[in-house]
Symmetry: D3
Amino acid sequence: MTTTADRYPLPELTGLPDDIRERILAVQEKSGFVPNVFLKLARRPDEFRAFMTYHDALMLREGGLSKGEKEMIVVATSGANDCLYCVVAHGAILRILEKNPLIADQLATNWRKAALTPRQRAMIAFAMKVATASGELGDEDFSALHAQGFSDEDAWDIGAIAAFFALSNRMANLSGMMPNPEFYLMGRVPREKKG
Amino acid sequence: MTTTADRYPLPELTGLPDDIRERILAVQEKSGFVPNVFLKLARRPDEFRAFMTYHDALMLREGGLSKGEKEMIVVATSGANDCLYCVVAHGAILRILEKNPLIADQLATNWRKAALTPRQRAMIAFAMKVATASGELGDEDFSALHAQGFSDEDAWDIGAIAAFFALSNRMANLSGMMPNPEFYLMGRVPREKKG
Amino acid sequence: MTTTADRYPLPELTGLPDDIRERILAVQEKSGFVPNVFLKLARRPDEFRAFMTYHDALMLREGGLSKGEKEMIVVATSGANDCLYCVVAHGAILRILEKNPLIADQLATNWRKAALTPRQRAMIAFAMKVATASGELGDEDFSALHAQGFSDEDAWDIGAIAAFFALSNRMANLSGMMPNPEFYLMGRVPREKKG
Amino acid sequence: MTTTADRYPLPELTGLPDDIRERILAVQEKSGFVPNVFLKLARRPDEFRAFMTYHDALMLREGGLSKGEKEMIVVATSGANDCLYCVVAHGAILRILEKNPLIADQLATNWRKAALTPRQRAMIAFAMKVATASGELGDEDFSALHAQGFSDEDAWDIGAIAAFFALSNRMANLSGMMPNPEFYLMGRVPREKKG
Amino acid sequence: MTTTADRYPLPELTGLPDDIRERILAVQEKSGFVPNVFLKLARRPDEFRAFMTYHDALMLREGGLSKGEKEMIVVATSGANDCLYCVVAHGAILRILEKNPLIADQLATNWRKAALTPRQRAMIAFAMKVATASGELGDEDFSALHAQGFSDEDAWDIGAIAAFFALSNRMANLSGMMPNPEFYLMGRVPREKKG
Amino acid sequence: MTTTADRYPLPELTGLPDDIRERILAVQEKSGFVPNVFLKLARRPDEFRAFMTYHDALMLREGGLSKGEKEMIVVATSGANDCLYCVVAHGAILRILEKNPLIADQLATNWRKAALTPRQRAMIAFAMKVATASGELGDEDFSALHAQGFSDEDAWDIGAIAAFFALSNRMANLSGMMPNPEFYLMGRVPREKKG
């Protein structure tokens, strides 16, 4: 184990502020476990709340991108940032949303080889530039998005998600956040139908 | 002018939600002008609120770092990310807080040449690694902070500020955010005494 | 789909030289499917034979590294080379050999965060330097291996595997080699016991 | 303070060769202070003379570039080379020549965001390639200059200035040359008119 | 001397397997000396045989590339990988094959400055991408080859040679392989005619 | 041929200023040919004179470095800058000065593999940092020189030569300067004794 994982020990649920504990319990109810990002960040309640609010503002916003497309951006840029937690946890979400057990590993390893539509390739290319060389963004990058039917509002969505996970990836790497074992398998096998 | 600066036009104050307009008016009252970051982000009220809340959670938090030291982190890492807005705007804040007209240009250009204490040098070195190669962070980076008297909570503060401005720098580069002309000169000349 | 995947169409088994067809049928018998690397390379029989002979000389050689450790080297360096085929296919082999469903994703994304022993960390660090900056190898790199009990013969094994997959990764990226869908799931769930 | 700044102590004016002392006194007369580059280099009189002669041959030469444009090249490429002395000292000169208090910080931080004409953008792009990747220069780089009306002689001027400051930046970083405090403020505030 | 050169001592010919000793003696007969690559690799007979078989499969294959063009690929990519052995040894072969005493130093130092035909420039550009960024290969790279008359089979040849020497360069750097002094001069002076 | 070589045509000797023509004729007398650097730069007489004066101030200066050691710095850093002219022309000078036909190719390709003394290795390591990352120079770099017996004046010499050839390499790449064919062979074969 990396010792950084032990550096910021996970807090007990009982000691957390009510709103945070309730959010965590709701996630646990829905997922069957508590993703480590919630516990790692909960030790700083103000930062926890801001992080979750920002996340939801971007990821739940109605707009030109589907939820699956947003997670594609997360997985590809997190791969570029060598962020184990986000690649594995958001890889799981992506597989489930897209009902595609292969897409996450493809995007995290080499998005150019992933089975994407031309529109999605343009989206990921723009997101990767925001993630790795935002200072070089120029008109030609926006034009490449427009050519695939994206609006400037879509460009903002794409870029803002890449920007938010630039933060998120760094927090995970800083805090020694390890993905819960459950994430690795989620979305890889067909769910049993409830009968 | 870069056309990206025109891509996301600044909104009119009158059309903004009350809480946002009031925050902006308060800043204007205090500073004498509205920093462009407020207007650029205000077109997306939910993201605006999350951004400002997160910023305040980190930058106003009481802890082992002074306000000036926090701004040193912002200026140095924003320089590494080629973010004009943050270098100029936070450079102004840093000069004022530190009562040092030279430090911001030094940190933005080459932090190794800046007039820093050994403690501050360790702080900036850690922040720069979070900003540019967070996937390679290891025990040796935390040890270098400890050797200068920083705690793990201080390390979180340093890293989290670098992480937040990884987001902020990308939003500025994405949205074509240009620094207000007022920032360039602030903190460079002694204030006239009132009297 | 990337069009490169269609550039070098897979040959029919019936048209292949006997020795190659037999090797492929043997793999199919054992694995239940034909890994694409065999079909992609089979169109050049001489190169196919040399590739497989070299692979076996390194990966089947008795020495100081276990088979699982050798696959760790493959997965980590293939991740550094953005090679989708090798990350997914050898990730499967690694999970099976190590009976560890998590290790492959960890090594492919960020080996520094993987759950490794100090000995394995030294092994991967050396392999990564061979993969990405072999011209800078020096005595200090061999000393770091020796400190973990590795001999110079082990260093050769580690480096030679990294070198062979430098070739293999490039052939996969050149030829548009896509991982068989079966690989993505292998080793992630406990095998059903045969009764 | 960085100790490198103390490594090569500044010489006394009285001990310098007559021609060098006179040049320094002339600069002091004009500027009101002696820029540190003169004192740092004066300890090696032969190198001092060659440096100044070369500088003047390029920067005072009549040709297709204005003096302000030449200083734009200096500031942008010195930013890319992390040279504190040249960014601050030539930033001052640039502000004064262009009567523009903002342009130097823009060019030093991110030239793509600077308020430049298309012609100036082409000039800076060419200079940056000479500064950072001259081995990759090709016909397409000269064509981009020609498209903005630059001649091959102008290209030589642009490239030679970038090349000279590749030398200058390295000498400043080597010798621990620190900008005089006066430079930081010059050209930022309107000069008082002499009455 | 670098100590790595002493790490894997060269074996005595007498102790080698017959087939390997015979191959080495044949090379010695032809060249007048034994290139160090043969002795360095011979200590691992299985790897030696696979290496030589692979080498011959690529370098002796009849196809769209001349032997001289293949060696151009070797020298340029080995230069990019900082591989002293391959630059010097294959530089000698290239000079002899092309009857050109200048081309090897040009390609090893900066292929863009080498005296090449447009077809050869396209070939080297493709090979360099395989050598240094194979994960980014795309249709545009194949199109650039097609525009110069290369087929997809030629592209495979070019890429496979670059891939094989990615392996070879790493083995040379790993094993401390030093070029025989004879190679440095070969092909630089006209051979004396035998009378 | 690269067309850049034709961009700045070489001037006729007869049209050059007397002092420049005389210097060129003196070189021709001594070497048997006119190195292209003299002709390329002669079209700008002021720059020519400053370049040669600077060159001589560094390369002819008496100090702690031998002439051969100075040329080692030139060849290694010019290799890092992909400068064909300087690698080939100064490689020739280095071979002659050191009476070593192998050292230039070693230093240009991979200085870590070159047959150097520990003192020379420290010298080249320092020079390479000045050439490629001068902004990161720190006390530890000077200490590494001191440990090998170099003084601060020696450090200046090493760094200043690396800095001057940072200029020179860029001028060669800018102007399409091609090495004279004579340089490639010089110093590789023992001179015939004059009888």
